[in-house]
């Protein structure tokens, strides 16, 4: 029977094309919308996770107490061992080390003497390991204005604004007047591989990005790191899991008075972020719900219309002696087939577009002229597991429900009346 129905659907365009188009379009919009919402609401959270917090973050207790001052003298030691342990304990997480540092960016003249100086805010991440995701995580490749990513040790990226102000070109040498984790003053020199602009004043002011091994060398931090960040390999923040990991880790390191013992925080422990996360959760859940409801109503309507337009056909079929229940069942089956086709097509398109926008984003900078933004001008959608089923709720259920409601009219009336009413 399904074969028969399929043939009918395929051959009768009025039965198939429009409903399928409408359902696909509707499902597409719902799926894309959910992906978009997740992306936009997740932006700020992701930014926090990617730049500063990780999904979970390990520091020494002393470092955590004075985090704002970036006290590298209180950094974690024997980090490789710690990371090995963490990777073994939590294999579904990726662990990365980060070093932040402050100091003065010093531009030499041709004699190696100071030509210009400005405050620096540095960040060292793993840029050079072939399988490192850190550069993407910090959105570095896309933030480069001039030049390119550092390719070898000793190459750094500096803020475009600084480069412009002090006339620093790609390939020039710059030094950082900073101190080692033991307090010695050092002036490591690096080659500028490129300039970058994150589009956020907070991040861009005096920014220097370098590879973690360069920072280890420069600041005498071999096998040390200010922070070890953990990211779920899925890329998504899972609060429950983070809580479990945090509690287990802290439990393990709780039996000591050592102020340099490691302590773990999860993303949601950041108090301001907690409220935002809660709000974003609620808001996006609410929005998605409104969408699903709206879409359901629309598709229900489509189903209803689809049923209504075929009253004549039903009249004829009844006249031919077909059972009411049989007709009703075929209506439902058809609706389910159309709903499924539409939902699948719509979901595919919705996920595809969401994925495209997750990878590429939409750049709104053209709409915002001369902007010194604190927020990215590139918006991204996000593909979450939810997207794979959320479209089926309005697509399949509402479509079927609408058809069922339209088909219900068949039961309500006596066959004779139906003939009349159904304009046979």
């Amino acid at each position: 029977m399904i074969k028969f129905l399929l043939k009918g659907i395929l051959r009768d365009k009025s039965r198939s094309l429009l409903p399928v188009v409408v359902v696909s379009l509707g499902v597409f919009l719902t799926v894309f919308m959910s992906g978009w919402m997740k992306g936009v609401f997740g932006d700020m959270i992701d930014m926090n996770a990617n730049y500063t917090m990780g999904h979970v973050k390990v520091m020494t207790r002393a470092y955590a107490d004075n985090e704002a001052q970036i006290p590298n003298d209180l950094a974690l030691l024997e980090v490789s061992e710690l990371i090995n342990q963490l990777s073994a304990d939590y294999p579904d997480m990726e662990w990365v080390r980060r070093i932040q540092f402050g100091g003065l960016l010093d531009v030499p003249d041709k004699n190696g003497e100071t030509r210009a100086q400005g405050p620096a805010a540095g960040r060292a991440v793993d840029l050079l390991s072939p399988d490192s995701k850190e550069a993407e995580r910090l959105n570095i490749p896309k933030s480069i204005v001039k030049g390119q990513m550092p390719q070898s040790p000793g190459e750094v990226l500096i803020s475009d604004e600084f480069a412009e102000r002090f006339d620093v070109n790609i390939g020039d040498e710059i030094s950082i007047l900073g101190s080692t984790m033991y307090g010695s003053m050092v002036v490591p020199t690096f080659k500028v591989a490129g300039t970058l602009n994150f589009g956020m004043a907070m991040l861009d002011r005096g920014a220097i990005i370098m590879d973690i091994t360069d920072a280890e060398m420069a600041f005498d931090m071999t096998d040390a790191a200010g922070e070890v960040l953990g990211y779920f390999k899925s890329g998504l923040y899972d609060d429950e899991q983070a809580l479990i990991v945090r509690d287990a880790f802290n439990q393990k390191h709780s039996d000591t008075d050592d102020e340099f013992a490691p302590i773990m925080q999860r993303l949601r422990d950041e108090p301001s972020l907690k409220q935002y996360l809660n709000m974003a959760d609620n808001m996006s859940a609410m929005m998605v719900m409104i969408f699903v409801i709206a879409m359901s109503i629309v598709l229900w309507n489509t189903g209803l219309l689809g049923g209504l337009r075929r009253y004549t056909e039903y009249g004829v079929r009844l006249a031919l002696g077909e059972e009411k229940s049989h007709i009703f069942r075929t209506i439902i089956y058809e609706a389910m087939i159309i709903g499924s086709i539409g939902s699948i097509v719509g979901s595919i398109f919705g996920i595809a577009v969401s994925y495209y926008l997750q990878e590429n984003g939409i750049d709104f900078s053209a709409l915002m002229e001369n902007v010194t933004m604190m927020m990215p001008t590139v918006y991204r959608a996000k593909v979450t597991p939810e997207l794979f089923y959320i479209g089926f709720i309005p697509g399949l259920l509402a479509m079927t429900l609408g058809n069922a409601l339209a088909g219900y009219a068949i039961y309500k009336r006596k066959t004779a009346q139906l003939f009349k009413e159904l304009e046979v």
């Binding site: 002393a62 003298d73 209180l74 003065l104 010093d106 030499p108 004699n111 190696g112 003497e113 100071t114 100086q117 030094s175 007047l177 101190s179 080692t180 033991y182 307090g183 010695s184 003053m185 050092v186 002036v187 490591p188 020199t189 005498d220 102020e259 340099f260």
Partner: protein, 235 residues
């Protein structure tokens, strides 16, 4: 009568101060020293040799540990340059950076650079006399007579035999204690007494302060003029 007394007292105090200057300051000295910085985690010791002429010129070269070896510092008047051999760079330290601590110690660059004689900056008066560890100590209160003294008042606990302070406290204008220096291990070198051990402590900060120990000191040694040039930094 009272007036006369305080006057002689003050005279005595300024004499003491001048005698301290005579011990501590010199037109020319070469010092090899070690600085031990107590961090929250561990301590490190840095050795260096410095050549100083008057109060305006000073040249320091770090000798150890390996990391600091070859790092040089040149002070001319109120300017300061540092040289880093690892990448052959001369960096000027100016303005805001001068207030930073030197190598993580409790001393700032400014503290090191301000090398004026006490009697050039302060008026002294004797506050009290004490006996500490069986030695006669006079407590001197120094008040700035110039505008640009970093510390408006100081208090010196002076050993009246050696004319060296065993302790010095530096105060803010308000009278708030900011820093404390403890001096010990006095030795006679070239006819003057000199403390071989010093401990500097920023009392507002936690920690044990910074120990400074003199390995050798030579007054009126031969210091070639060329080392007080930027060119010498790279040699």
């Amino acid at each position: 009568m009272v007036c006369f007394c305080t006057l002689t007292y003050a005279q005595a105090a300024s004499e003491i101060m001048q005698k301290i200057d005579k011990n501590m300051s010199s037109d020319n000295r070469i010092v090899e020293s070690s600085m031990t910085i107590h961090g929250r985690r561990n301590s490190r010791t840095i050795t260096s040799i410095s050549y100083t002429v008057g109060t305006e010129k000073s040249f320091t070269e770090y000798l150890s540990p390996a990391r600091e070896k070859g790092t040089k510092m040149l002070k001319l008047d109120d300017k300061l340059w540092t040289y880093y051999p690892a990448n052959d760079r001369i960096v000027q330290i100016s303005g805001h950076m001068l207030r930073q601590s030197v190598m993580g110690s409790d001393l700032s660059y400014e503290d090191i650079m301000d090398d004026r004689k006490l009697s050039d900056v302060y008026d002294a008066e004797t506050e009290s006399e004490e006996v500490i560890d069986g030695r006669a100590i006079k407590v001197l209160k120094l008040s700035a007579k110039v505008d640009d003294a970093a510390y408006e008042t100081r208090r010196l606990w002076v050993d009246t035999e050696y004319y060296l302070p065993i302790k010095e406290e530096l105060y803010a204008k308000s009278g708030q204690l900011l820093k404390r220096t403890t001096l010990s291990d006095f030795k006679k070198i070239d006819g003057r007494w000199f403390p071989m051990k010093l401990n500097f402590k920023d009392v507002l900060k936690q920690g044990q302060g910074t120990d400074w120990e003199i390995i050798s000191i030579e007054f009126n040694g031969e210091i070639p003029e060329y080392i007080f040039t930027k060119g010498a930094l790279k040699k």
